[in-house]
Structures are given as structure tokens and as C-alpha cells.
Amino acid sequence: MSATTLRRLIVFSLIILWEGLPRTGLIPELFLPSLSSTLIAGWNEAGEYGHALAVTLYEVAVSMVFACGLGILAGAVVGSLPRPRVLIMPMVSSLYAVPLVILYPVFTVWLGIGSESKIAFASIYGFLPTMLSTAAGIQTIDPQLLLAARSMGATLSQRLVRVIIPAAIPTVLSGLRVGGALVIVGVVVSEMLISSAGIGYLISRYRTILDSPHVFAGVLLVLAMTVAFSAALRWIEQKASIWQTGMRGGLAENRSVRPAALQPTA
């Protein structure tokens, strides 16, 4: 049985269990409402969930632009210039360990409980890993490659476009994967804490009235969002013709490692 079939089988079994276990009474509906009652609950309040989803998506999108755009830019600068690197990297690295969510109440004081405070919080939350991995990606570029490019007469801008950027793409994308996921976490968590709109707010509100089906309907939406994000990133990776060993854009459909064809065939 191939890995893909096995994966599908696992997901399928989980769905069956989600429906079956609460229905047979093995798990009380309060702890885990069956899949069908969750879907019905979501469907009945479709307008409310649709509005919440729009708010959350908007916040995620804006935060993503801030976190990833600024993260890549700052990472590129810090990674390529030695002085800012020595100055900033230790600070950023130790900052990374601080649970930033403790700052969120302060953000609501400064920016209110609307979207602005969520965007600010999620942007900073996703910014750090994106910046760190971009900086690492730029730093780990093999100096031999740059020397070789120089020996072929590449100018500074040619080295940037033809060597540094393509060489950094894999690390930057893995940074985006972490950074983007943290942006979603940041938005949903901050909505759950102090808010008046968004999916996190709905989950939190229905939880206080012990309405499990509606809580899980929100959870499903967040799940769908992260799956969509992951798929989008995979699409970008293929478009960017990612060159990691054993895998290449366009051929990356099967994500298991391709055996490298070492034997000459011609």
C-alpha cells in the first residue's frame, strides 16, 4: 500500500471515528459532538461563521504581508551585513523564546480590541521566525558559489539576482512555513483572548455557553484555513522551482525523495 493511500485511509478512519464515537455514546456529545452535528451547527449559523471567517482571513492576510514581507527584508539585510548581524541577531534570538502573547493585552490598550491589535500581534509573532530563517539562509550560502560567480565576471547585482536569491529560496520558504503558521495562531489566539469578531471570538463565545457543536464548527474552519495555507505554500514551492536535493519544482508532487540517477544513461 502506498504512503498516499495509507494517509487517506487514516484521515478517513478519523472522520468515521469522529462521527461514530459520540453517536454510540462512548464519548459524551459535550466533549466531542459528532461530525454531523458540528456541520449542521455551522450550517445553521452560516452567516455568522461567514462573517467571522471574513474578519479572520482579512487579519491573517494583512499580518502575513507584514510578517513575511518585513521578515524577509530584515532577514536579508541582517544576514548579508556583518555589523547588524552581530548587533541584532543575539537580541532577536533571545526575544524569540519570550511568549509574546503576554504582550497582547498591552496591544489592546494601544490599538483597541478591533482588527488592528490582532494584526499587530500576529505580525510580530510571525515576523521573528521568518526573519531568523531568512538571515540564516543568506548566511549559509556557500561562499564558493559567490567566488565562482565573481570569477565569471558577475556584477554585484547579478550575484544578488542569480546566486544569492535562488540559493536562499529553500530556507526562506521554510521560514514562511513557520512564520505563516504562527500568523494564523497569533490571529486566532488574540481573537479568543479579547475581541468582538472573528473565528477565535466565536469559538471562545460558544465555549462559555458550553455549545460544543458550535465550538467545533469554528475549530473546523481554523483547520481548513491552515490546510489551505499549507497547500498554497506547496504550490509556491513548486512554482519557485525549489531545488532541494532529491526534489524539484514540478516534480515535487510525490514528496518522497527521488532516487538520484547516478548511473550514466547516455
Binding site: D142, Q144, L145, L147, A148, A149, R150, S151, M152, G153, A154, Q158, R162, V163, P166, A167, I169, S241, W243, T245, G246, R248, A260, A261, L262, P264, T265, A266
Partner: protein
């Protein structure tokens, strides 16, 4: 057979001249003299190998010939003209294994120096095909470096060094990362390519056997400060064969180099 039909006209081999070159590295605590009054002349079409203990400045000297580094004093001339910055039309450089771009195919790697100059796609492709054919990699153009063996990667590097038909080819320990068997094969391959193109080759290596096997002339350098301590003409006939490795001439030359290196290391 015209080996490089699309790279015609073949430029004649070039001369390399190193005149009283000195190199001083300034560190915060002291000045380190890396090269001290080095003079060397390589006639067109010759195969010259630089050997010496680690840190003798042989790679530094090669980087100067490539225009990648400027000497503190003296002059480095390629065909009589100084080389203030890299010029792939005059000098091709082959580095150690790691210098192919992993995100490009073999073909695209070979085309890279042409692409930098805005050569039209069709012309680029044709030249790259020729260069790959020359190094025995016909049909491997679409492979990525990770799909090639170590020896094949170095063939691609050589093709890339030759694609602009430079009069001089510089090689900085190109086979150092290869296993011994591949290394021997690549040595023969390089001599074949050299015979086909008639380029001037300056080759840096740590291997004494490789040095004697490949060279017309071996230049021996001493440890810091780097000086030329001996120049040996290898009179063995060409083509070189494996049998020569066990002969007296070969052994005598290798011993002489080894004595110099042991003394200065």
C-alpha cells in the same frame, strides 16, 4: 574534428606572467607575508602545476591570475595585460566540487557566464552543448548537479571554464574532493581536453603524483612566506600512461618535490 565548433574561432593559448609579486595580509595584530617576490612565466599552451605545503600561497597566486585578488606589489599579466578584475574571456577558472549552482541544470551551469553577458539563448545553448560534448557529457545537459557523480560535476565545471574559449584555464585543486580512482580518470580526461584545445593550464594541487603525472613543469613553493623554491621540467613523453607512475623518472621527480615540501613544512 573541430572540438569546439560553436566556440570558433579558437583563441590561441595565452601567456601568464607573474613579476616580483608580493602579498601581505594585514591583520589587527601583525602583517602576514603570504607571498614574497614570486616570479613565474608560463608560456602559451603549457601545463604548469603549482605544489607546496598548505598555506604557501599557491591558491592566492592562482586567484591573482584570475583577477579575484590583487597583489600588494609586483604585476600579474595575462597575455601581457594586467588583470584588475575577473575576465572570463581571458581566463577560465575551475574550483573544487562545490562551485556548481545546484538549482541549475548542467547545461544552465555551463551557460551561466554567457548568460551574464546577455548572449542570445540559442547561441548559449549551442556553445554549452559543444563544451559538454568536449568534456564527455553529451546527453547529460538536463541533469541537476545532485544527479551527477563527483567526477561528472567536475567535468561540468571544466566545461563552464572553457565555454568562453579563454586562452588560459586556471584550476584550483579541482579533483581534491574526488576518490582516487575517479581522480586518475579525471587526470587522463583533463589531459585529453587540454590536448584537444591547446589551452594554457595553471593547476594547483596537493597531490605530488597528480602534479608530476599532469605537468609539463612543476613549480614548488615553500611555506609562508610563499616563495618559489624549485621548478622541475617533466620530460616524460605524452600521452602520459599509468605505467610511467612506477618508472624511475617519475619516482625521482616526485622524491625531489617531496624533499622540498618536507623541508619547509
Amino acid at each position: 574534428m573541430q572540438p569546439l565548433a560553436n566556440i570558433t574561432p579558437l583563441k590561441p593559448a595565452g601567456a601568464v606572467e607573474v613579476r616580483n609579486v608580493g602579498q601581505v595580509f594585514t591583520t589587527s595584530t601583525q602583517d602576514v607575508v603570504a607571498l614574497d617576490d614570486v616570479s613565474l612565466e608560463v608560456k602559451p599552451g603549457r601545463f604548469v602545476v603549482l605544489v607546496g605545503p598548505s598555506g604557501c600561497g599557491k591558491s592566492t597566486l592562482l586567484m591573482m591570475m584570475a583577477g579575484l585578488r590583487q597583489q600588494t606589489s609586483g604585476a600579474v599579466l595575462i597575455n601581457g595585460a594586467p588583470i584588475p578584475k575577473p575576465d572570463p574571456n581571458r581566463v577560465g577558472v575551475v574550483f573544487q566540487e562545490a562551485s556548481l549552482f545546484p538549482w541549475l541544470t548542467a547545461e544552465e551551469n555551463v551557460e551561466f557566464p554567457l548568460a551574464l553577458r546577455g548572449t542570445p539563448k540559442a547561441e548559449r545553448r549551442a556553445k554549452a552543448q559543444d563544451a559538454l560534448k568536449l568534456v564527455g557529457l553529451d546527453g547529460f545537459g538536463k541533469r541537476h548537479p545532485h544527479e551527477l557523480s563527483g567526477g561528472m560535476k567536475q567535468r561540468v565545471s571544466i566545461a563552464r571554464g572553457l565555454v568562453q574559449d579563454p586562452p588560459v584555464l586556471l584550476m584550483d585543486e579541482p579533483f581534491a574532493a574526488l576518490d582516487e580512482q575517479t581522480r586518475m580518470t579525471m587526470g587522463d580526461e583533463l589531459l585529453r581536453i587540454w590536448a584537444a584545445t591547446g589551452k594554457t593550464v595553471v593547476f594547483v594541487t596537493h597531490s605530488l603524483t597528480e602534479a608530476v603525472y599532469l605537468a609539463d613543469e612543476v613549480v614548488v613553493m615553500s611555506a609562508r612566506p610563499g616563495r618559489i623554491v624549485d621548478r622541475l621540467t617533466v620530460s616524460l613523453p605524452r600521452p602520459r600512461t599509468y605505467d610511467m607512475l612506477s618508472g624511475d623518472v617519475f619516482g625521482g621527480l616526485r622524491d625531489r618535490i617531496w624533499r622540498h615540501i618536507r623541508k619547509s613544512a
